[in-house]
Symmetry: C2
Subunit: 222 residues, 2 copies
């Protein structure tokens, strides 16, 4: 009996097929989803994410995940996609809650929400930030969610400029500086720098606000 399968196309799309919740569509259900969730949880627990452990938690054989992801990086890319989605949702929720219409106040709220999420979800933030998993597949959703956050800050600063709130006309420079400041602060925390810089645990969130305020004061007119 000749082999019935060609070894090439081992990955397939998740078979776009909606059905009533509760009905198990196949052997395991939506294993792809379960694996991503398991990996997310592993990361959140501080453990290193391994394909096998994710398979173990899904009660599935060690080879099964490779039916859904060509390799570990692809799984991590899917994890990054989900984490990025949650991150974006959180940021937008925080901005929605911030009732102010002042673009610089909104920028402040953005930065604080950014740092806060990074503090509360360090492993997920690391997966998003590293860019190692951005490369793989370059998932459309991942790119879109990220681009949306970029555009968000661009809009806030452009609005501030339009209202004559900024000292400098170089928007791009301000954009990158603000981003570097916020990202750098979140990263300093993630990478454990603060103890060495004399910033104590309970002080970090207040410091984030102070640092962002300092930046805004620096770019604001008058």
């Amino acid at each position: 009996m000749p082999a019935r399968q060609s070894p090439k196309p081992r990955i397939s799309k998740p078979r776009t097929r909606r059905q009533a919740p509760g009905a198990r569509p196949y052997h395991h259900g939506d294993l792809r989803r379960v694996l991503i969730d398991a990996a997310l949880q592993l990361a959140a627990e501080g453990a290193e994410v391994s394909v096998r452990e994710a398979a173990r938690r899904a009660a599935v054989s060690p080879g099964a995940p490779f039916r859904h992801f060509p390799n570990r990086d692809a799984l991590m890319a899917a994890v990054a996609e989900e984490a990025q989605r949650r991150f974006r949702a959180e940021i937008e929720a925080a901005l929605a809650e911030a009732s102010s219409t002042d673009p610089l106040a909104r920028f402040r709220a953005f930065g604080i929400a950014y740092v806060r999420w990074a503090m509360h979800n360090p492993a997920h933030f690391e997966i998003i930030s590293t860019g190692r998993y951005f490369a793989y597949g370059s998932s459309a959703e991942l790119l879109r969610d990220n681009a949306e956050l970029v555009a968000l800050t661009e809009r806030m600063l452009a609005e501030a400029a339009a209202q004559g709130l900024l000292r400098s006309p170089d928007l791009k420079r301000i954009l990158i500086a603000g981003r570097a400041l916020i990202y750098g602060f979140a990263r300093m925390n993630l990478d454990g720098h603060f103890p060495r810089w004399g910033v104590e645990e309970g002080e970090i969130e207040r410091m984030a606000e102070g640092v962002i305020d300092l930046f805004i004061a620096g770019i604001a007119k008058s």
Copy 2:
């Protein structure tokens, strides 16, 4: 014949003993040093650093490195130590070259040298920054080199404050903001964010200068 070695103290200090260069002190020479160099080179090549590959390059058995490092993280900590030493040397050389005595100009030179080294030595910078290997052993030299760089920036800002150059009296806040800005910028480059932020490869170094200038303008008086 009973075992002559107890399994506990398998690691020993490198036997402080100076001797004429060229003379091989032992079997392999200074294997510890060779392993660190191999690991540094592996990282610089973009490969992931494995103990076995380092041993391979040192033409030594796979178990040999564990005579000098209790585990992989200890090797990486030694690598971090060496990288941090080079980093500090580079920064101090750049500051020595910057003849200016204006503390804010020196801060600028510091930031630019920082970003430039991070750009030219991405893997080594990552090893230094991550803090994963800071934990292990907490090598005195690693901590000292790092603390020295912290103190360096502290001094520059304190001097600027003493000369009445700063708008705000909150030195710590300025310190952390400046550090977050510079670190964040270097990290954005390392983590591949810039393409997504519309900053092109050849533009990065100029952008670093611009961003630092923007920051300094923001904190400087008048």
